[in-house]
């Protein structure tokens, strides 16, 4: 089927469901035929059903639907909960969270908690939202950073050794190296031995760069200006991995490299940016010497605040001449 068509239909259904649920708070059963295959109300123990250790070794099943007691004529022998001594166990009270409490939990996390279910499956709008988020994650990986953003920030573009997206995913090692042309180009165009070299790369989320790079970069630039820390010539690496900073360090010999790179997208956010920092990265730098400020996006650390904070982190790296684990050790 046509991909665009699927997307369109999914979007329409989600919108419709959202409109319906915001318009009426009560259960929207009015138009549906009453087929009571599964209970419309969640039943059973929502707060994780704990496995009850039963000494007799009898397997117990927990019902997910309401039991209609009198109709059961088949002798389903339900073992009474017992302790090792055969005495009935005092019933432990597990309180069902109220709707208010669930709303409170949902406020605290973007994770899909307390969203209810229809029978044993997620509800349709939860499921469609999940599919939409998954699609957004895929799009983030395969998307491209718009040229006008790079132009606006005055960044030139170079390539890693990777040829296309498929190879980028299969061969992380190639994403960690600059192409020969790239090496030549940065040697020509960039200031050598700057104090701070900033590099941007789409990494696994072009969307992250598109949404956040400008705010983080401008804020970081201002912060470094305020602190009187010299900046090199910033550029953009297409299809780079974090460790491409090592080769950049080898070529340009900066004191600190800051790499602003799109994070692997998740189902909560597909546009999260990370800033990796390293003191004098060179080929052979170990991972423990890198540090990262992650989760930079609208719903995480505000990009402008992250940029401002990065300035003070760089100041600290320069003071201790170390980053990552070495920095923590030196700081004491």
């Amino acid at each position: 089927m046509n991909e665009e068509l699927i997307q369109q239909i999914t979007k329409m259904v989600v919108e419709k469901l959202e409109a319906a649920s915001s318009g009426q708070t009560t259960h929207q059963t009015s138009h549906e035929q009453k087929v009571q295959l599964f209970s419309q109300q969640p039943v059973g123990n929502l707060a994780a059903e704990t496995k009850q250790a039963s000494p007799s070794g009898v397997v117990t099943f927990h019902s997910t639907t309401e039991e209609v007691k009198p109709q059961r004529t088949i002798a389903t022998v339900k073992p009474k909960p017992t302790t090792a001594y055969g005495k009935p166990k005092p019933k432990t009270e597990t309180k069902q969270p109220t709707a208010d409490e669930l709303a409170e939990y949902r406020k605290k996390t973007p994770a899909r908690v307390g969203v209810g279910r229809a029978g044993s499956r997620p509800r349709t709008n939860t499921w469609l939202q999940f599919r939409l988020d998954h699609a957004a994650a895929v799009d983030a990986v395969y998307g491209e950073v718009p040229d006008d953003l790079l132009e606006r920030l005055g960044l030139f573009q170079v390539q890693s050794k990777v040829a296309d997206k498929e190879e980028y995913i299969r061969r992380p090692d190639l994403g960690r190296r600059l192409s020969d042309e790239a090496k030549e180009l940065i040697q020509q165009r960039c200031k050598t031995s700057p104090v701070v070299q900033i590099v941007a790369s789409n990494g696994l989320s072009a969307k992250a760069i598109e949404e956040n790079l400008e705010d983080v970069y401008l804020s970081l630039e201002q912060s470094l200006n305020n602190l009187n820390i010299e900046m090199g010539t910033t550029f953009y690496v297409d299809k780079g991995r974090v460790a491409v900073m090592d080769e950049i360090g080898d070529v340009l010999k900066p004191d600190v490299v800051v790499m602003l790179i799109g994070e692997r997208p998740g189902l909560v956010s597909a546009e999260s940016l990370s800033a990796y920092l390293c003191y004098q990265p060179r080929l052979g730098t170990i991972e423990a010497d890198r540090m990262v400020i992650s989760n930079i996006h609208k719903g995480g650390i505000p990009p402008v605040e992250a940029g401002a904070y990065l300035g003070t982190v760089i100041q600290k790296i320069l003071k201790y001449e170390a980053s990552g684990v070495s920095l923590v050790q030196k700081e004491g």
């Binding site: 804020s219 200006n225 605040e305 401002a308 003070t312 700081e331």
Partner: protein
């Protein structure tokens, strides 16, 4: 340079000067970065340890309307000595003046004097609503309300007032203060020695006569304690009769939800639960305290609520003042260290309602209002501007916002005073840096992730090693009678 990963401790003091008793508490807070290593740090108080609890002292009074300041100072000095603490070691905390003591002539003056002497950053607080809130935190009611949706009323009854604070899910639903307390009728050698004015009025209203010199067991005394219990039950049920007005101090009960559970704290609760029974028995107070406690326990109307025992009785307020008033700012902030600590800064809230352009178009009027509210005489009382409900801000938005702030701050009567900004969302560092980049002439104090509103006062302490500042949000309204 800020070290976010070091474990840091600060010493906090709480001093409660109440109608009949004064007590002090010294505690130690542990601060830690609770954010993951890959995140921007978030410093929180992770542990609170009580180092010293003073005995319960009688509040020294000079006469009926004046507090004996030297006496209070002497108590604090000797208790600090016993605890092995110097005033200079106290990095945060609060001195609170509660109950009838707050109506004394020299209350305000003494409070500020004490907060200056007893520690570098000891905050002066007062206000009937605040008393109830702090007591609810100290008695454990506040924490208890976070467990499972019940509406809990904490009723802190001391010598002069009963302070009610109602909580559900750790949210304050409302407060109310009443003239109910042990010290409202005092005895001497089995005879009535003093009757406080609201009680005199109550007796008159109800057609009872009680004179100085009447016997302690007069029926009018019993009537008063029973009436207090009955009236408290009506107030808790929000069923305020005309006859209860005489016992109300300030506003009527303002919570909406019906109360499930009541918790008594304060000196009267001590008479009920005897938590401190193993300590040296405090002197006989010679007032209606014990009778009042009995009346409350035996009152049928109050039995319709479920009762819960507090974790602290007589020390609930001082515990709250010492351990529950300090907040920690966000970790990414911009403060000029020379300007700290700052005390008694009034807050003016400006709500952007998620719209920057619209918000900026009216911000100038807001500052005019703040000046007319707090500095009508143009004497240079500075204020803190609280920016709430900011929309998502891009870098260019921050520039626009910063320029607008500089412009309006220059219109203050004394434009050279520090620019103090409190921001609800995590934007203090970038806004502070942007102001610095604009080369503003004023010092900048820009902190975030503190919730305040117009009418609050804040005190901002010295920056700690991790770069955060302790902040105490409070009110400073004294009782009016």
């Amino acid at each position: 340079m800020n070290n976010f990963n070091k474990h840091e401790t600060i010493i906090s003091a709480g001093i409660d000067i109440g109608t009949s008793t004064t007590k002090l508490i010294i505690s130690r807070f542990s601060l830690r970065n609770v954010a993951g290593v890959t995140h921007v740090p978030r410093i929180e108080i992770t542990d609170k340890e009580i180092l010293y609890k003073s005995p319960v002292f009688r509040t020294p009074l000079q006469d009926a309307v004046t507090i004996n300041v030297a006496g209070v100072q002497e108590i604090i000095r000797s208790e600090y000595e016993k605890a092995g603490i110097l005033p200079s070691q106290i990095e945060t905390g609060a001195v609170i003046i509660t109950g009838e003591t707050a109506t004394k002539r020299n209350a305000s003056e003494m409070l500020h004097q004490l907060s200056d002497e007893a520690g570098d950053f000891l905050v002066a607080t007062a206000g009937p609503d605040l008393e109830g809130i702090i007591a609810a935190k100290g008695s454990g009611s506040y924490d208890e309300s976070g467990k499972g949706g019940r509406v809990i009323a904490n009723i802190d009854i001391g010598g002069g007032t009963a302070n009610i604070a109602v909580y559900q899910d750790k949210q304050l639903l409302g407060t109310c203060t009443m003239h109910i307390g042990g010290r409202l009728i005092e005895f001497e050698q089995g005879k009535v020695r003093a009757i406080s004015p609201p009680i005199e009025q109550l007796l008159g209203d109800q057609g009872y006569a009680l004179q100085i010199g009447d016997p302690q067991n007069a029926s009018a005394v019993e009537f008063v304690t029973n009436f207090m219990a009955e009236s408290l039950a009506r107030i808790l049920k929000k069923n305020v009769h005309a006859q209860d007005q005489v016992l109300l101090l300030g506003h009527e009960p303002n919570w909406k939800q019906p109360i499930d559970t009541i918790v008594f704290s304060g000196g009267i609760a001590e008479c009920m639960y005897h938590h401190a029974a193993d300590e040296e028995q405090a002197a006989n107070y010679d007032d209606i305290g014990v009778q009042l406690a009995e009346a409350l326990v035996n009152n049928q109307s109050l039995q319709s609520f479920s009762w819960q025992e507090p974790i602290e009785t007589v020390r609930a307020t001082v515990l709250g003042a010492g351990t529950q008033t300090t907040e920690i700012s966000g970790a990414t902030i911009q403060v000029a260290p020379d300007e700290l600590p700052l005390k008694n800064i009034p807050i003016y809230q400006y709500d952007f309602e998620e719209n920057l352009a619209e918000g900026l178009s009216h911000i100038e009027d807001a500052v005019q209002q703040a000046v007319s509210l707090y500095d009508s005489a143009k004497e240079g009382q500075n204020f803190a501007l609280y920016l709430s409900n900011l929309p998502y801000l891009g870098f260019r938005d921050v520039q626009t916002l910063a320029k607008a702030i500089v412009q309006i701050m220059n219109q203050r009567p004394q434009p050279d005073q520090p620019i103090i900004l409190v921001i609800q969302s995590d934007h203090a560092k970038v806004l502070g840096q942007t102001l610095a980049a604009l080369r503003v002439k004023q010092s900048i104090i820009c902190i975030d992730q503190i919730n305040v509103e117009t009418g609050d006062y804040i005190d901002i302490g010295n920056a700690l090693t991790s770069g955060v500042v302790p902040v105490v949000v409070k009110t400073l309204t004294f009782h009016t009678t």
